[in-house]
Amino acid sequence: MGEVIVITSGKGGVGKTTTTANIGAGLSMEGKSTVLVDADIGLRNLDVVMGLENRIVYDLVDVVEGVCRLRQALIKDKRYPNLYLLPAAQTKDKNAVTPKQMQELTSELVKEFDYVIVDCPAGIEQGFKNAIAGASKALVVTTPEVSAVRDADRIIGLLEANGLKNPQLIINRLRVDMVKRGDMMNIDDMIDILAIELIGVVPDDEHIIVSTNRGEPAVSNNESMAGQAYRNIVKRILGEDIPFMNLESDQGFITKLAKMFGFVKKK
């Protein structure tokens, strides 16, 4: 029996889908059988982020409506062991599915997979209610912006009101240079305001755009700082105690020494 985790945020565009794709691929790399469920019916995107858009035959609504069997709608990701995607329907809307149906669906999936990761749509309406219906754990994604943190706070309240206690926070697109000069809220600022446990900090990283262009999750890219951050989040989901990474990659001892003697131009 596995675990159903919903990735949510309230605000759109903070990186829920990217986070879902990377955590899913990361769990698979750790040897866990994983299925990603795109609950954003009508605005599906997890398929393109995963690079699986050309392989969709059936979707989530087809399964719920009994058009096909659950197995038939699952797309196997050939690059990762035991990673599957259940795509959302693109031509229906959020009301095509009820929270009860979602709960039944995820309870079916959780019998066969170690992890069921649900990508929640933005907003707090039907789509959100559907996405959280079958989840036993929630990860809240936010960026260091007033609007995103405000919506995250609202979502945390709604999650707790719906019995999803102790959601964990992912801070996405943190820019260390801006934090340093005091133009971006830092990790402590956000934890202080939201008062929930942190599970990961993902730095703003160009690799994410490049990997999304290609349809390949950055988690398998060893050069990517964001990829490393996702690998750490995955390990924390698996219960490992991983220290938060130093986001200043260019601050190694040699670099510091070089800076001291003026060999490296200061940023």
């Binding site: 260091p144 007033v146 943190v149 609202r154 005091g182 133009d183 971006m184 600022d189 305001i193």
Partner: protein, 93 residues
């Protein structure tokens, strides 16, 4: 006051962000609508008007944060600024 502000001016936009966020979250979390505040304002007004004449135009009621005396923790507070024109005749009471 302005001069003082000028010297203590906070250049960090993240501090501004944090303060604004904290204020907006007080309202969000308390689920306090402007109408609700208007209701409180109306009732406070009617009670106080029995005892003193107040400047209704200058009346201001808002939710904010304040430091608790005992431990300095930041807590939400209802702050009312009620300018008094004059006390009503005490002999009546």
């Amino acid at each position: 006051m302005d001069l003082f502000k000028m010297f203590s001016k906070n250049d960090n936009s993240k501090d501004i962000a944090k303060e604004r966020l904290k204020l907006v979250l007080i309202h969000d979390r308390a689920n306090v609508s402007p109408q609700f505040l208007e209701m409180i304002k109306g009732e406070i007004l009617s009670v106080i008007s029995d005892y003193m004449e107040i400047d209704e135009e200058g009346l201001e009621i808002k939710l904010t944060r304040t430091k608790r005396d005992v431990d300095g923790a930041s807590v939400p507070a209802l702050v009312a600024n009620i300018p008094i024109r004059k006390m009503k005749d005490e002999r009546k009471f």
